[in-house]
């Protein structure tokens, strides 16, 4: 069965590039692209919501 992937929405206008989401993602789904965070490897996402929980700027929304 094909794995159902979540959607990770990153609001670039809000992101200040603090690296928190990139560092605290246990499966390294996110990366920095310039000054903002971006999704690098959505396949690896385990929907732990750590990025959404820890983002201080309300910039990440994960929908499982």
């Amino acid at each position: 069965m094909e794995k159902k992937l979540p959607t990770i929405e990153i609001i670039e206008k809000y992101c200040k590039g603090c690296h928190i989401c990139v560092e605290f993602c246990p499966t390294k789904v996110l990366e920095m692209q310039g000054f903002v965070a971006a999704v690098k490897n959505l396949e690896a996402c385990i929907k732990c919501m750590q990025c959404e929980l820890r983002c201080p700027d309300f910039a990440i929304k994960v929908t499982a």
Binding site: K13, Y14, K16, G17, C18, H19, I20, E23, F24, M49, E52, L53, R54, C55, P56, D57, F58, A59, K61, V62, T63, A64
Partner: protein
Amino acid sequence: MAFDYDKYLRPGKLPHIWCPGCGHGIVMKGLIRAIDACGLEKNNTAIVSGIGCASRLPGYMDFCTLHTAHGRAAAFATGVKMAKPEMNVILVGGDGDGTAIGGNHFIHACRRNIDMTYLIMNNNIYGMTGGQFSPCTPTGAKASTTPYGNPDPAFDIAKLAIGAGATFVARGTAYHATQIDKLIAEAIQHKGFSVVEILDDCPTTYGRRNKFKSVIEMMNRLKEIAVPVKAAEKMSPEQLEGKILTGVLYKAEKPEYTGEYAKVIERAKGAK
């Protein structure tokens, strides 16, 4: 499922003013989740703050909000609570605002045990005004006004609150994000003056003066120094050296101020 923060935020106010990596945003999200968990109504909840980085928080929240004079959040909030005792009153502020400039208001609000929740974001410094040392700056730490290291010992906000008479005192950190909302929710539900201290990071004015290479290093430091109260019971004083206890530190039942004051009003009316 993603938590819908937007319904508690004023539209068009984001992005907020806090610096990249500042933990205040994480604490604000915790506060929103706690308010949601407690089911507080927007029209029946007042969020009051003084001046400072942390005190900008009410500006983003779609509730009855009050942004007052430096350190005077407790004074204004006491007025709100006395005029409308049925209202849920939440105070927010930083360590400098709450324990230095507003130190007197803080201890007397604790003493009265008035039913309010005080959320203190302790980032060890006055961030907004340029990194002056606050009463919560650790001994030896550098600030713009202590370039050779701070000689003063720091306040323990939790002990100060307990000593002054607060009936619910808890402490968390910006790293332990899931704990924040649980502590705040318990504080909101407690009848009496509740103090929740959240240890926070200030990468801009504290971190760069004190040799923290990144926000992540500051966050990991919070993780390292925090010890849950239950785990601390099994630890020796040597092991607890330099550690900070987290969780619910103190809880007691005492007469609440608005209730006691209502009795005074009844007595003044001549009731026996």
